[in-house]
Symmetry: D3
Subunit: 206 residues, 6 copies
């Protein structure tokens, strides 16, 4: 994702949110934030009472994507919190955060198995995300900041290793797109996601 | 959208946000909120310092969808604010809000032309939205609350009258979906959206 | 109340505020808010950390007025919340909210009796409110926005059906008023309130 | 007002709120707060994002009462802020704050004349406030905390030296009151207010 | 401390913060605030969502200083809250608040012994604070506002009666200071603190 | 500083805070925050309306220390913001943040000279900070988390290369300390700070 750097940390917390108590099932949630120095010009820290709605939307996306591949019962009544803090932003921070979070989650699961917080791996399958876009009619994979700012269509796709969709989020920033263009974008995303899974292999090997 | 009722109001405001000053171009933005009595049990009003991230995500979607069909230059340096207040919630509030907002926006444009705020219609084409979903492998159009809560996949689609996509947002709540299923969902959405445009004809006829 | 429209909703909530726990007695409270599109120009939604002190004052008045005609013991340990959301504002929103809330409360009591939340009607008597004012020395009943903005004295009166006062709130916006003028205003309010009770008869008949 | 102690300070601020700019007219406003140690048990300081609606209602009352006796044009484009901080609370804090603020305002006007901020006294007449109440059918003047907590009706009256009303605020905490009882309460308030004006004479003599 | 006036109130609260529950030990904490009228020009009250970081730093200092001379076990599971509200500010408000708080704490301990909240005096020894500074190379004791604003070094010292340090906080506002200058400042502080203890004798005698 | 890791970023911002406008002088300020994953258990992100007073105190200290070695006139009307984000916390985060910030500031000054924001180096001399403490009567340099939690006295010292003090902040967490012990602590700090300056040499060499 260009020069984007996102620090992804997974933390085990005993217990689950109040609405899920005594269900025997766990929870996975994510928080996303950009450090002030991650952009130029510097981005002010959120003041009390001001909301960064873009960040909230992204952290909901991260949480939803990961939860789609987690078996809550195997997680027992534990919560895993993924903290995604952007250290350097160059486009694609949300897909970088999903992929980094998946690795952190996998790491946390290993730790939890070792520490006997859980006895079975709750991750049902791997998931990864990429961005694709349309620029002057051409499909482009993994948009960095410069590409993103001129794209007519911006789409984020999260898929499983078996090639099924977990999230499909496409917006026509300028020009609405046809069904055929959508098909092309999805195919390009499929190819990109295969590459991410290869990165996972390296990152998670020990 | 089932028994969902959303009050959509469009307001003209002279001027544009600071970052857009002296561009000669206008802006369209939306705010979305649920009245406390719109759900059972009653939903508390947002307290200072607490954020309703779902609402923020929805209002960003509404604004983005409408802006995709607005010619900012014809709008001149004016802002149109769409307020979407849910009076009764029964699933599909976000698509109801998009469609209601489009009608309010059209109405506001007529008013602006009459009052000479603008001289040309800035709406480039009509846009409408529906939800579709997968329930036990079957595609379903326009999910009400009961359907939504059991759906495996929940998708919101916004399209123009010419059949091109403005927004495609699909999430696998439980089971990831195949490319074929995505195709079926998009086709169903196309049919639903045609019906919405007929409702527009009635609503906007005078 | 002119073209004022206030949506009043009553919700049953089991339990009472912490300071009233285990008293065997219920509670009635109100919240008041103006939708952004209810005024021209549009009224911004309250931001986190900013307080609409006028709205807080009004919701305290609504709650106090209704509580004066409620027998807490018959309500048992339940809370009824009245949500008053102004959809269109043209003066007299606080008296409209009191009267609309009384109707919603009566409706909620019927529902609670039917659902066996309670066994006896906790409403001890009817209460209604009107505004009166002095404009250039003349008394005026039910001030709409135009009248309100030129009034020398603005007074809100809540009375029971037996003609006793529950709330008397008069402010000299410009010119202090004499005891005689106060007497005239109270008499005018008595006549206005009788009319409101007739509206109640129609609204609550089924 | 029993053992109530309120520190009232008036501050001159050049300029007026934005909505009043370039009107040639001034503004008077008040802020009211209770120190944590003013009550037993200790009252927590307002946290960010929590609202003390009682305090907001009182400060609006103080401001309105004082503005009724101020000629804005003679004040020129200046703001006088009255800070009312309750050091010890024993009932009647709102009337104590009005009376203390009137003295502070008078003092500030003298200072402003001396410093040539203004050339004419903008105070048109004196104003003072007392509380009256009904306890078991008897009228009571100046309720301290013990009386206030058992009163059936609680009323705050602000009057000018000429005996005209500026504010009349009465609430039936328990039992609605008749027109005759209202008359008795107003007469008692008239007598109490005469005593306050004598206190003013002493406080403002130099 | 010049014309500085700080109202210091100590309140007993049963129980301790959550993290200290069931430890058998008490807690002492402080809150510091400046009344709006304590400075010229008037200081605005803290708005929701805005933080007065200077005030927070000071209240942490006050709490820490007092806790250094309190035996938590003798205090049992009680909290004493010190409220320091500045009524008039003329430099040295933090040291005035520490000294005033120590007197209020001593007073509260007497009250707690009398009321049998505790059976032994938890204050292990007396503590007092002064400010010292360097102005053009000269050491100065107890800086008022005028001195403070021109000081090159500003230092606050809290000491026990036995001459040991509890807090040493020195900042070079303009010119860094030598070890020798630090020694001179500490000696001056020792002399000043002896005088404060004499004031305590008078204040606490009954 | 043990295993502590603090990310320090310096950003140039044109202009200065409002109170410093048109003075011809610049400003240096710092912000300090701990990432949620920097501690175990995970530290929640600050919610709107809640204040992390420890963090505010630290960022004031960082800013003050750096400003003591900056010539505002050479900085012109520019602001340099230092963001200190703790990635891993193991004691000594405040001194690590000061030292990291000094390096970032030096780096930013080089950049500003190259980009011609300024023409002269505004840093008047180097400054560095260490923590020292007393544990069971023994002086200890550079306390990590384990040492810090058992220390009787905790002191942070910032010094210039010429051996003069910029900040001296010592608190007796448990036992007040003598003048002699203070002298020992200051001597130990002097030795530690010399080592930091050697680290600077390496970090800033290019």
């Amino acid at each position: 994702m260009g020069n984007t750097k996102v620090l992804c940390t997974a933390s085990w917390e005993p217990g689950v949110p109040a609405w899920r108590k005594d269900s025997g099932m766990g929870w996975v949630t994510a928080e996303y934030s950009m450090l002030p120095g991650s952009t130029a010009p510097r981005k002010s820290r959120p003041r009390s009472g001001h909301t960064d709605s873009r960040g909230l939307e992204i952290q909901r996306l991260i949480g939803r994507t990961l939860r789609a591949v987690v078996d809550y019962e195997k997680l027992r009544e534990n919560t895993i919190v993924l903290d995604c803090d952007v250290i350097q932003a160059d486009g694609g921070t949300r897909t970088a955060a999903i992929n980094g979070s998946f690795i952190a989650l996998s790491d946390a699961v290993r730790y939890g198995l070792k520490k006997k917080f859980i006895t079975q791996n709750p991750i049902t399958q791997r998931v990864a995300a990429v961005s694709v876009g349309l620029i002057k009619g051409n499909t482009v994979l993994d948009l960095d900041y410069n590409l993103d700012s001129i794209a007519d269509v911006d789409m984020n796709i999260a898929m499983t290793e078996s090639g099924r969709f977990v999230e499909v989020q496409g917006s026509a920033e300028k020009t609405p797109f046809s069904g055929e263009q959508l098909e092309q974008l999805l195919n390009l995303a499929r190819r990109g996601i295969k590459q991410i899974f290869k990165v996972y292999d390296k990152a998670l090997r020990r």
